[in-house]
């Protein structure tokens, strides 16, 4: 369609899709031994004002000279101009990010990915289940639900990790307990590999029977390793949760975040998907019609 191409109008000075916005680190705090939470603000306030995201979306954090990494936004989508990222020190780029101090600057592009379809969650109960780093994107969903409390029915959140000192946002959730009770929000925190005072023991799926919300008319959002999804699905469906309302996030290697570089591809010839644009949020039926999603 060369013809068609030639006719297309290219506006002057149009944004380069791979270019970043400068953001300043305002605050850094240690979450666990491996994880730090960073609060960012857009240096260009105009950009900040118009920058909106959905829970479950991610950004590409860029350190020129080091590289770029995809990171889920973990703050509430209701706050304008600011956002938080919870970043685990996992390799080259994330180690450099961990060295950042308040006042330092990074490049940000995004938000990317489909995010959770929050509108579809309105008017229903909400079950949120996180394992490990999955609490980062899930926190964004949770805070959104709290900020829009009247739009949701009862809410339960299960936060799990291997060890007590890896449990993300554990203290924050603990501190919310009183308000949560008044607001019909149930908080369950569980640790799988050790006994910890104040915590339940075992995997999230082992505590589904303690969930107070009514499975009928509920939406479920799961964020964790695919292993967890497999065991969760069976139980949830057995407990009468509607498979149509079960959502998960998937992690893949990502370079571009916008469906170009091919690294996040998954699926088979009839269900070819890019985790960055078709996901990272997928529903139960995406999973069963796309082989290899849970690997």
């Amino acid at each position: 369609m060369t013809e068609e191409l030639h006719r297309r109008y290219i506006p002057d000075g149009q944004d380069n899709l791979y270019d970043t916005h400068k953001c300043r680190v305002l605050r850094v705090y240690k979450q666990t031994e491996m994880d730090k939470v960073f609060l960012f603000r857009f240096i260009d306030q105009e950009v900040g004002k118009n920058w909106k995201f959905k829970p479950g979306q991610f950004v590409e954090v860029s350190l020129p000279g080091i590289g770029e990494v995809p990171i889920s936004i973990c703050s509430s989508a209701m706050r304008i101009g600011f956002f938080q990222l919870c970043i685990r020190k996992a390799g080259r780029v994330t180690t450099k990010i961990h060295e950042l101090k308040p006042g330092d600057i990074v490049g940000i592009r995004g938000p990317y990915g489909n995010g959770f379809p929050m509108e579809k969650f309105f008017g229903r109960n909400l079950l949120l289940v996180a394992a490990g780093l999955g609490m980062a994107p899930l926190r964004s969903v949770f805070l959104y639900a709290i900020d829009n409390r009247w739009r949701f029915g009862d809410i339960t959140i299960i936060n799990s990790a291997k060890y007590e000192n890896e449990l993300l946002f554990a203290r924050e959730l603990e501190a919310m307990r009183d308000i949560a009770e008044a607001e019909n929000i149930q908080i369950i925190q569980t640790v799988t590999r050790e006994d910890s005072p104040n915590r339940l023991k075992g995997r999230a799926s082992e505590h589904l029977d303690k969930v107070m919300i009514d499975p009928k008319n509920s939406t479920v959002a799961l964020c964790g390793p695919p292993r967890m999804y497999k065991s969760m699905f069976e139980k949830l469906v057995e407990m009468n949760y509607d498979p149509r309302r079960i959502f998960v996030t998937l992690e893949r290697r990502m370079k571009c975040g916008i469906g170009k570089c091919g690294h996040c591809n998954l699926g088979n010839s009839t269900s070819w998907k890019y985790a960055c644009i078709d996901g990272p949020v997928f529903d139960y039926y995406d999973i069963i019609s796309t082989p290899g999603m849970l690997e």
Partner: protein, 344 residues
């Protein structure tokens, strides 16, 4: 459509005239077995091969180069500056593109222009000129079952061989302008030429070793996801060299790397072609690999290439035969697909 006829003896003049529109690239023989699109200077016009089988490197490289600087940066200021080269470079005039490769470019467009345009690719592509040429298949070709053996669009000019020359179809405004400016080279198309075109098509269709339509192959492949022998047997031969993806006209995977300069402050952000056949392609921090085995990577290519490109309404594989022709391990992609289809 507008048609003109170029007599064989005028081809050289035609090629020389094309140089007015940008940097001319055309297929020439680069070794015993291989052809490649190379830059054509006045002296090289005679070397242009009009009936080559396939080029080593696919046309997409002119719009999506193997390696390209996206930005220069200043890491202290955390600033990136767009590399303007793609916007200021001379247009590429690509002569002698086969139909399957034109469909291949259209598939590239579907990812790099149609949704969220990649500025570098789009700039090069929009000023580029594509001049197609008709061809006859060898035993590696199967563009017919991919519905990519004939194109109605995606070119500025398309040359179809007739007995004593070429009938040129004009496919764009740029094409019209080229024809207008070189009007003295052409003659009227006759009834004999029209009959020749039909005869060429009949001859061509008889030369293919497969027939019909392979649209349903994507289902067949998926149903044979667990094929007892083929994946293991074939992937064992694979050297993981990535030739199949580098030569493919529709492979698009790339990696991005930052190269700091010695001053420790400035540098370049570069994108480089990557291949799903490389182990690192699916590797993430912590050592987990989404495609850890050669078999899983091998299968990934077959699945990706046979997926449906909805913008072009064909499979991502256009049946050009390169991945078989250039595989050092002698893995026969086309034959393997036939085997998966049950021998047909």
């Amino acid at each position: 459509m507008r048609y003109v006829k170029l007599k064989k003896e005028k081809i050289k003049e035609f090629l020389l005239a094309l140089q007015d529109y940008g940097e001319l690239y055309a297929p020439i023989k680069v070794s015993e077995k291989y052809f490649d699109f190379r830059k054509i200077t006045n002296e090289q016009v005679d070397e242009v091969v009009l009936d080559y089988n396939r080029t080593l490197r696919p046309p997409r490289r002119f719009f999506f180069p193997e390696k390209e600087v996206l930005f220069t940066f200043n890491s202290k200021k955390v600033e990136m500056y767009e590399n303007k080269e793609a916007f200021t470079s001379e247009p590429v005039v690509l002569f002698g593109v086969h139909a399957c490769d034109i469909v291949g470019l259209r598939i590239m467009d579907s990812r790099f222009i149609d949704d969220q345009p990649d500025p570098y690719y789009r700039a090069r592509r929009e000023k580029g000129i594509i001049i197609g040429i008709s061809c006859l298949p060898d035993e590696y070709c199967f563009c017919n079952v991919r519905r990519a053996e004939f194109v109605d669009s995606g070119f500025d000019l398309f040359l179809s061989e007739v007995e004593d020359g070429y009938v040129i179809r004009v496919g764009s405004v740029k094409g019209h302008k080229i024809i207008d400016a070189t009007e003295n080279l052409y003659v009227e198309v006759t009834k004999k030429d029209s009959d020749d075109l039909t005869a060429f098509d009949v001859k061509k269709s008889k030369m293919f070793t497969v027939s019909g339509n392979w649209d349903s192959l994507r289902y067949t492949l998926e149903l044979n996801d667990e094929h007892p022998v083929i994946w293991m047997r074939e992937s064992e031969k694979c050297l993981g060299c990535g030739n199949c993806t580098i030569t493919c006209p529709t492979c698009r995977c790339y990696d991005v790397k930052d190269y700091p300069n010695l001053d420790g402050e400035t540098g370049v952000r570069v994108r480089i072609w990557d291949s799903c056949q490389f182990r690192e392609h699916g590797l993430v921090a912590g050592g987990h690999n989404f495609r850890p085995t050669k078999e899983s990577r091998f299968k990934n290519r077959y699945m990706c290439k046979n997926a449906y490109c909805k913008e072009v309404t064909t499979a991502y594989c256009v049946g050009c035969g390169r991945c078989t022709y250039f595989c050092p391990a002698g893995i026969n992609y086309k034959q393997n697909l036939i085997e998966i289809r049950g021998g047909i």
